[in-house]
Symmetry: C2
Subunit: 228 residues, 2 copies
């Protein structure tokens, strides 16, 4: 019974010292997993690097898969914290979008080795897929709230707010992933600038006082026809 | 030697009859894999459903993983064929975007069972990840060519064309996946409408004769400040 309780609380050590030890193991595991991959990584190598006893690993993690998931969860939390402002402020939305995109790309770049090496393996785990899916949904709902706030102030963002948020949030994720895998030669600023442009066109252009973009397109077309 | 040659050509039967048989096996494999998953699927069940001999399977596929990849490749080809027009026509770009998005979503919905059941397992294969990555890159280059054509005609789409294309193509993929996994209650039209809106704001609004959106945003801000 005692043992069971111990096992259950394994993931959240209550004492500071426990926190520090778990952190050390996690950092070492991150390095070893990136270096060796999930299959070849050995728990002994992780505990050696962390300078803790072999058994200590199993105080905090069930197995290698478990620690892999903890590493990836931490990465995703870091990306999220970097990208989203604590509070959306309509008056400085443009700056917030620019800062959010830039900081997100910076965090993505800092974590690129882990993302490249461990993301495919981590996605095989149903728990991990659920974690990512839940996290994305929280982001979507966060953005939907922001859009609701904007539309209460007269902004005209059209379409379904949830679908809109899903699509827009993925522009950043997709561009970041593509950047670190295929287009490493690009400067962060260039990637950020392009994303900002997309976010400006779709969100900032819906500010009250702007003519809707679709209307503009129709007018321009009429104009072109007249010119012919 | 003879056997080796046979093995090599396995994937591309030259005769029509071979094509038809491979097709039958592939269709049966698709059904069984979706029903049972990769682990539990049995080759015998596939060949029974296809009404071919057990050995016939191995004429065309190395193993279950091989046929899984063939199924997924076919799905991705279908999605691509549905979404992209053979030729971009600037004069009816708005309609082409709308048709492309709608057809892509329809194809995604038709293939939803396969995508939900088999995509995670297929992504564990490095060959599959390479296939998807190469296919996406072809799409990106296709879109970059389209954007070049537009900019030669005076359209002002700003930022890096490759990053822009990556981000925009992912809006459709992400919204489609989210739709079939989390928001099945939405109508296809609603998802399509939202995506069209995003594509309109970013592409159609850059038509010659439009004022750049960023400039509009700056003007509106100045206007708001004056009103205060």
């Amino acid at each position: 019974m005692e043992k069971m309780r111990l096992r259950r609380s394994r993931h959240e050590p209550v004492q500071d010292r426990g926190h520090r030890t778990r952190r050390k193991v996690l950092l070492a595991a991150r390095k070893i997993l990136v270096r060796r991959g999930l299959q070849a990584a050995r728990v002994e190598e992780i505990t050696n690097l962390a300078r803790v006893g072999y058994g200590t690993f199993y105080k905090y993690f069930r197995n290698k898969q478990d620690v892999l998931e903890a590493v990836m969860e931490e990465v995703f939390h870091q990306l999220n914290d970097a990208g989203f402002p604590a509070q959306v402020e309509v008056s400085r939305l443009e700056d917030q979008i620019r800062e959010g995109i830039t900081n997100y790309l910076k965090a993505y770049y800092r974590n690129r080795e882990v993302l490249l090496a461990l993301q495919p393996a981590s996605l095989m785990s149903p728990r991990m897929r659920r974690f990512i899916s839940d996290m994305r949904e929280k982001d979507v709902q966060w953005m939907v709230d922001g859009l609701t706030k904007l539309s209460e102030q007269g902004w005209r963002i059209r379409g379904n707010p949830e679908v809109f948020s899903v699509a827009m949030l993925h522009t950043a994720e997709a561009a970041a992933q593509d950047w670190i895998t295929r287009r490493q030669h690009l400067k962060l600023e260039e990637v950020a600038e392009t994303l900002c442009e997309i976010w400006s066109c779709t969100i900032l252009a819906s500010r009250p006082g702007q003519r809707p973009v679709a209307a503009l397109a129709v007018e321009a077309r009429a104009d072109n026809l007249r010119k012919r």
